[in-house]
């Protein structure tokens, strides 16, 4: 059943998220291939930049502090999209839902202590080749009101 076009434009948020240094480390090492042990995020693999997990190296580096691995943004910026696809009024079959496409734009780095506020909206919904597509766009701003991350999220509902 096609997603009702009247849901286009529906807004979700704002959602607020405070970035913590240990969460950044955990994320960067999980993506980087570390094997977590009890209570630790694991040893950093050689290809992972110390700017992402080593306080001293990061403080001596170009940003003066740890920075987030860029796609860490999904941890908080996904909220409007996740809320939209689970919106009971849309009545989507979440078991048949897959993440089809993703676009992220980074206008600045993210640092520990940054407070990110994300808003989003359903920007399109259509049917193609027997599948339903739901597109959400998001904007995440830091505590100074600067736009830091823009996202375009595409869900595909199979069958």
């Amino acid at each position: 059943m096609a997603i009702d076009k009247r849901f286009i434009g529906r807004e979700y948020g704002p959602f607020t998220y405070t970035i913590g240094a240990e969460k950044l480390r955990e994320f960067t090492l999980a993506v980087g291939g570390a094997h977590p042990a009890a209570g630790t995020p694991g040893e950093p693999p050689a290809h992972v930049s110390p700017l992402l997990y080593d306080d001293q190296a990061a403080k001596a580096g170009p940003y003066g502090d740890l920075i987030a691995f860029p796609s860490f943004a999904v941890v908080f910026a996904i909220r409007p999209f996740a809320t939209a696809v689970a919106d009971p009024e849309l009545n989507l079959n979440l078991l048949m839902l897959v993440h089809g496409e993703q676009e992220l734009e980074f206008l600045d780095v993210m640092r520990p202590g940054d407070v990110m506020t994300t808003t989003g909206r359903i920007s399109d919904a259509y049917e193609k080749a027997g599948k339903q597509f739901l597109i959400a766009t998001t904007e995440s701003r830091n505590q100074r009101g600067d736009l830091v991350v823009k996202g375009t999220w595409t869900a595909v509902i199979r069958g």
Binding site: F27, H35, Q102
Partner: protein, 131 residues
């Protein structure tokens, strides 16, 4: 540290999705959708077991370019289409090529292919500042 980049430069990055990676990524990212952590749910969903979060594969494409330019803080944009799931014990090879350099920004096209030669991402483009 000055480094010059040219259109046509290429790079590769190989990542293995070990058996626990979807669970590690779930914990780190908060994406606990059961299709990533519960094989029975994956089977019911017609996926033949669990699949890796597409956003982890996106992260690896970003990582490939971050390693190439030498600084993850320079990544400015990523765009991907998830064309095929990555499964535990898959090995994914990311192959990138610089397609444009303009105004201090480098554009790369990145392919991501599993060990059977199947594309897991399509049309992946990653941009980084080099200014």
């Amino acid at each position: 540290m000055a480094r010059s980049f040219q259109v046509g430069d290429t790079f590769t990055h190989v990542r293995e999705c070990d058996v626990y990676r979807p669970i590690f990524y779930a914990g780190a990212s908060g994406d606990f959708n059961p299709i990533h952590i519960d094989p029975e749910v994956g089977k019911v969903a017609g996926l033949d077991g669990v699949i890796l979060q597409g956003l982890c594969t996106l992260g690896w494409a970003v990582e490939a370019v971050a390693v190439f330019v030498g600084d993850p803080g320079r990544i400015r944009k990523v765009k991907v289409r998830f064309s095929r799931p990555v499964r535990p014990e898959d090995t994914v090879t990311f192959a990138g090529r610089v397609t444009a350099i303009e105004a201090g920004r480098l554009t790369t096209e990145v392919t991501a292919t599993n060990q059977r030669g199947e594309a897991v991402l399509k049309g992946a483009v990653v941009e980084a500042s080099i200014g």
